[in-house]
Amino acid sequence: MTFPVTSTSHSLAEYRARGGYVALEKALKQMQPQDVTKEVTASGLQGRGGAAFSMGRKWQVVVPDDGQPHYLIANADEGEPGTFKDRWILENNPHMLVESMLIASYALGVRNCFVYIRGEFDLPYRRLAGAVEEAYAAGYFGEHILGTGFSCDIVVYRGAGAYVAGEASGLLASLEGKKSYPRNRPPRLTVKGLYQRPTVVNNVESLSNIAWIIAHGAAAFKEVGTPKSPGTRLFSVSGHVNRPGVYEVELGYPWMKFLEEDCGGIQGGRAIKCVVPGGVSSKVLTGADIADLKLSHEALWDAGSTLGSGGMIVIAEGTCMVTLLAIMLRFYHHESCGQCTPCRHGTGWMHRIIDRIVAGGGRPEDIERLYYISKFNDGTTICGLGDAAGYACTGILDKFRDEFEYYIEHKRSRHDGNLECLRSS
């Protein structure tokens, strides 16, 4: 079933017609805050931003009435390359997020919640801002919502275009008006987050599930998906497929079936060379790797990668992996915030090496050097950006090392379309 996107499908009236804001009423009038958290924990919902951490366990750390303010933040700074699923929600169903945030605020004892939306999002911002206005007009925000004792306000805050602001603590720093430098843990953000208060930062898609879970119950949610990965996920598919776009897929769905049938197969009928499963920070998997895989968190972890943010990039046979890695590493170099040493220098170092290889100046030791940098970036940095750059790099190097060796030796890509005999002299 497809979602009927029309020129008004994002409006409050149509959202209500689809059964919207019923869950909010149910939560506020029939449930205690801790019951909502219990329901979310029981659903086994995992974060959809990349780490797939249990939402319920994150929420449980926050004690709703411990006398201090709490904050809830929807992370709409969707910056992971290849990912554009939150954008779809914000553009076409923003009220799903708004309602879910209200329920979550109720559960967590939050008076003020925030949406941190990336600055490059224009239509999503306008749609969300419109939805918030509609919600205020309908009495879903403000004092005494729906005649209950619960009050809540929302602020939609636009970022200024830093990838690292999508990292929860970097986001908080940016929201506080500082440079988006991620923070060291401990303390965890659920203990000391925004303005040093307990804060829950959730991905837009993760939060958007809450309304459905409250309306239909955790048991109904767990009926879909696999036992370890319940529910459905949005995948934003791009690359060499015939029908790229945002797909809602129940977890545990066969991967090849998804690509061949739902996404219309690979362009030109070529074989799959590799797939970036969930944003470029997850390790790539080759066509052979994914042949029998199912789209679930546990299956991907077993295969040595992760579903990450659900930003799936399909790469067909004939693509130059050296150039692909160069593009990825340029991104990480450009987006490193420069706070901690290994990432600040490591990402730039990797970028210079790969650029030199692409320009034909590669040296045999360069591959080892890339491994070296990746190794010492992993686990030594404040946030995950340094790690991710290393994963992207080693993921490709592990599987396509011969291509890099070829490039370095012949000073050209094996996939540049030229026959070898023409270049041999």
Binding site: K179, P186, C340, R344, W349, F376, I382
Partner: protein, 476 residues
Amino acid sequence: MPEIFINGQAIEAREDQTVLQVAREHGIFVPYFCWHPQLSVVGNCRMCLVEVEGRGLDIACNMPVNAGMKVFTESDEVKAHRKAILQFITLNHPVDCGICDKAGECMLQDYHYTYNGAASLSLDDKVRSTKYYNLSNRILLDNERCILCLRCTRFTHEVSKSMALGVERRGDVSNIRPVEDRPLGEDPYSDNIVDICPVGALQSRQFLHKARVWYLKPTPSVCPGCERGCTIQIWHRKPEWFLKSLDQRQNTSIARITPLENPAVNGPWICNKGRDLTRIFERTRADQPMLKGRPVPVAEALDAARRLIGAARHPVALVSNWGSNEELEAFKRYLGEVFHTHVKRDWQPEEGERIEDDLLIRPDKNPNTAKARDLFGEDEPAYHDGTDLVLVWGEGYDFARIPAQAKIIFLNSYLAPENGHADVFLAVSIQTERAGHYTNFQGVVSAFEPCFPKGESVLDAEVLFKALAAPARGHP
């Protein structure tokens, strides 16, 4: 009191401590750049990575102690990572130690030899950035040497509160830059960032290319700039490295002044005035005793002074609050019975000088007022018709206020017009030429030691007072 294990050694820690603090307290050295005991933890240099059993690597500076945790600071994994971190730090660092003022006291240099020792693994170009960036009229910034530990920005935010520095751009092109509307030049504590910079990125213009630090030695001293009495180190040339040609004045001049850490008074900081003591100490000296402006040998001047004292019926003395505790006590012991003694305020606040603040600077711009008042009371100098002799010790007193009939004995160290007007002028030594103690406004006593030899005809005030108390040797 949770017990933790560092390298197998059981240590009692306090609950609010981090592993780095515990290790430091027990003499276990963990290298770090960005951590500083007086500043907040940012944990960005990643140099203090240690291994915790069951948890892998993490930074010690931000690691709360947990009962029973087993920390390893020298495991193979830790050593490999330290080495790699130093590779990363030196990747874009110019490694221009040969022309860097920090060489010899640079944390990066020390760590490189201790933990890395290998050449750079990179053969690619380094990231270039600005050199000699003008942060203020006192400080230059070399962005290529900067390792972005953010000690300087944190200092201006947390200690001096001038908020003068921030970081511009991101990634490996991040730069420390001054904030437009908060000039660092107006921060009276700005030079401390030069000291806390772990590398040679921040350079003092006073000291720029002036000396290699291994030719210098620090002598502990006390800043006379205000009644806070911050302890300082006066850096000057080691005797074994004295210049035998060229500008030999360098052998006896102050190269630079840095704070001497002292939790009781100033912590690890001093203000910029304390760095500028050459302005006070290296003025032209008066090193020749005189009678009414006529140069005479020391013995003759002393005799003349003794005769004046012996003949006086109502002598008044104005003692200097720049005198050390010992000198003030000597005056009291030898001459206290002879003179009506008052405490004189040698220095007044200069125009534009910060008078007082919450950190260090105090309104009284003299070092030993507390001790002087303790010995001689707080009365303002007073004369009457019978005043026939005034002994003025130290500068800053207007001779016009002395009754015309009174003879004047003047003890001073610097060239001044009054020197020649005094009936007897005696040259006394300055702080850098003698040892002694000052008592600050809180009653804390700090010691200073001599750095340089004094001139032949210059006397220490302590000796001078004893000599003045001896009977005169009759008429010449």
